[in-house]
């Protein structure tokens, strides 16, 4: 399956800066979409592809920092590169705490921005991959029956078949059958693989 083409969103209320940034990013062969305001970006349809956001902090109405919070609350994970004319420390600390990918001051050197964009896209690609894998695993795990899930929990916790049988009040033979189903449904190649998948699922749902 081929990875969809990554896209860079540029949001700045100053047309000349917007056009300059767009041209700069396009020159390295990346797809760019520009917006004059945060609202415009929020209502736009976003493609399902690795992406990052180049965002001006100081904008009328919805500021860059406001948009960051809105995206986070809306569960839209997208790396943000902030650009600010007056990069005061408290503001950048706040932005970084909320998970900003990078914080650059105006005027931005072209190479710095391109580096930041590449890094942000790579990071988004990894995150998307992780999310995709986790979704697949979750799908498989969810196909298990409640009984099988119980068995899975105890297997992953490192209990022996005999112990599991005692704890769940069933015969060792039944445990073995459930266990075989679990391995089959989750496509686990080994016990170690099963444990890894289970851990991954937990860590992604924690994020």
């Amino acid at each position: 399956m081929k990875e969809p083409e990554p896209v860079v969103f540029v949001i700045d209320d100053d047309r000349m800066i917007r056009d300059g940034l767009q041209s700069l990013i396009r020159s390295v062969g990346l797809r760019v979409e520009t917006f004059a305001s945060a609202q415009e970006f929020l209502v736009a349809k976003r493609p399902d592809a690795p992406a990052c956001l180049v965002l001006d902090v100081r904008m009328p109405e919805l500021s860059g920092l406001d948009l960051q919070l809105k995206l986070r609350d809306g569960g839209i994970p997208i790396p943000i590169i902030f650009i600010t004319g007056h990069g005061d420390i408290p503001m950048s600390v706040r932005a970084m705490k909320e998970g900003a990918h990078e914080f650059l001051t105006k005027p931005v050197r072209g190479q710095d921005l391109l580096d930041a964009v590449q890094k942000a896209l790579a990071s988004d690609r990894t995150l998307r991959q992780e999310r995709k894998e986790a979704n697949e695993i979750r799908g498989r795990f969810e196909s298990l029956t409640p009984r099988e899930k119980e068995v899975l929990e105890l297997v992953v916790a490192g209990l022996l078949n005999k112990q599991i049988a005692a704890q769940l009040g069933m015969s060792e033979l039944t445990v073995k059958t459930h266990r075989a189903h679990v391995m089959e449904k989750t496509q686990a190649e080994s016990l170690a693989h099963l444990v890894r998948m289970s851990e991954k699922l937990k860590s992604v749902s924690r994020k």
Binding site: D14, M16, S23, S27, K106, P107, R109
Partner: protein, 398 residues
């Protein structure tokens, strides 16, 4: 209240007692002398009545009259030892009683008027004392109020100066932030577009169309930055000064008076040497005031660290030929070294820690906008002289 009533009762008792005592004394003396002289000395009773009235007042006086009448009737008018009076003695007796009564009445009148005079005097004294105290209180209050007012005025002045400085700093701060943003925005556009232009040219297959449009946008950004700068400059020095006929000497006197407070605080003497026959100049008086005040304040601040010679600021006006007037502000301050002299009129150049470095630069722009010149010289005797020329009215019409 109770005590004073008791005291009054006691005093009344004493006065009546005194009357009875005196009559009794008179009786004893008269009885004693009766045996030796035969004819009774009723005059002792007169004396007793007079004394009783004098010291005791009307009441005791009348009591003394009654008592003495009875005593005389009983002891000294025949028939003796009875309260009867023989017709023979009657005129004499009546005359006696009448005299007694008259004397008592006269004395008590006299006493009463004396008492009322004394009372009036006492009251007057009390009133005078009260008034004096009131006056003194009022005076004290006035003194206190004046001191307070002076303090308030001092505080007010300090606050006003503080406020003016804070306002200036705030304005400068806001102005700076706003200028920084206004200039930084187009600069960012220039950098982004120039970088994009280079990037398009650096590709394996250079894209000239893209590079050109990026370069064009960079130029636009630079033009915008230049416009912003021009706008700020025209903001600082109003493009067209509003000229009117200005009596220069009067303006200088006013500004010198305005700066007097600051000069006094810094122990600087301001001396005016104003030419009496100075032609009128055509200029924007507000801007001119700004320039003069700026030069005076600079002069004062230049002298504040001087301790080995008098701190002097001399303001001088003179008419020059070629239809010009010249204003000079000469200080006895620290003077100007060569490095300072070279950069004196540059914007944002300052030798003061809190200075903005705009005063002289703006002043020069103002004077030049009026067709004059502003320059500085070091004095041979220490300190510096700032002077400017302005075309006079006849110089302009000529």
């Amino acid at each position: 209240m109770q005590i004073s009533t008791a005291a009054t009762a006691k005093r009344t008792l004493f006065r009546y007692g005194l009357a009875i005592g005196l009559i009794f004394l008179a009786l004893l003396v008269s009885l004693a002398l009766q045996n030796s002289f035969g004819n009774p000395f009723w005059f002792f009773f007169s004396a007793a009545v007079i004394l009783s009235t004098w010291f005791g007042g009307a009441g005791p006086g009348w009591l003394a009259v009654i008592c003495s009448t009875l005593a005389v009737m009983y002891y000294f008018t025949p028939p003796l030892r009875s309260l009867a009076v023989t017709p023979h003695d009657l005129p004499y007796f009546v005359t006696f009683v009448a005299c007694e009564m008259g004397v008592t009445q006269l004395i008590s009148w006299r006493k009463r008027s004396e008492d009322s005079i004394r009372q009036a005097r006492d009251e007057l004294e009390v009133r005078v004392a009260e008034r004096t105290a009131e006056l003194k209180n009022a005076n004290d209050a006035l003194v206190r109020q004046m001191a307070e007012q002076r303090r308030t005025e001092e505080t007010l002045q300090a606050t006003r100066a503080e406020l003016a400085r804070a306002a200036r700093i705030t304005t400068i701060g806001e102005l700076t932030a706003s200028i920084a943003h206004e200039v930084n925005q187009p600069l960012a556009a220039v950098v982004a577009n120039a970088d994009a232009c280079v990037a398009w040219l650096s590709r394996k297959m250079p894209d000239l169309a893209e590079a050109r449009s990026a370069a064009e946008r960079a130029t636009q950004g630079a033009t915008r930055a230049a416009e912003v700068i021009a706008r700020i400059r025209s903001l600082i020095t109003k493009a067209t000064p509003e000229k009117s006929r200005v009596p220069l000497n009067r303006v200088i006197e006013q500004i010198a008076a305005l700066a007097e407070g600051q000069a006094e605080r810094n122990h600087v003497a301001i001396k005016l040497e104003l030419s009496p026959d100075l032609p009128i100049v055509l200029c924007d008086s507000i801007q001119l005031q700004q320039v003069i005040l700026n030069l005076i304040v600079n002069g004062i601040e230049a002298t504040t660290s001087v301790t080995d010679r008098p701190r002097m600021l001399t303001l001088r006006t003179e008419a020059e030929d070629k239809g010009q007037v010249r204003v000079s502000v000469r200080d006895s301050g620290v003077g100007l070294n060569e490095e300072v002299m070279g950069r004196l009129f540059e914007p944002f150049f300052t030798t003061r820690p809190k200075g903005m470095g705009m005063g002289l630069s703006i002043s020069r722009s103002i004077i030049e906008a009026h067709g004059g010149r502003l320059w500085a010289e070091s004095n041979t005797s220490g300190g510096a002289t700032f002077q400017f020329t302005l075309p006079s009215e006849d110089g302009l019409t000529a």
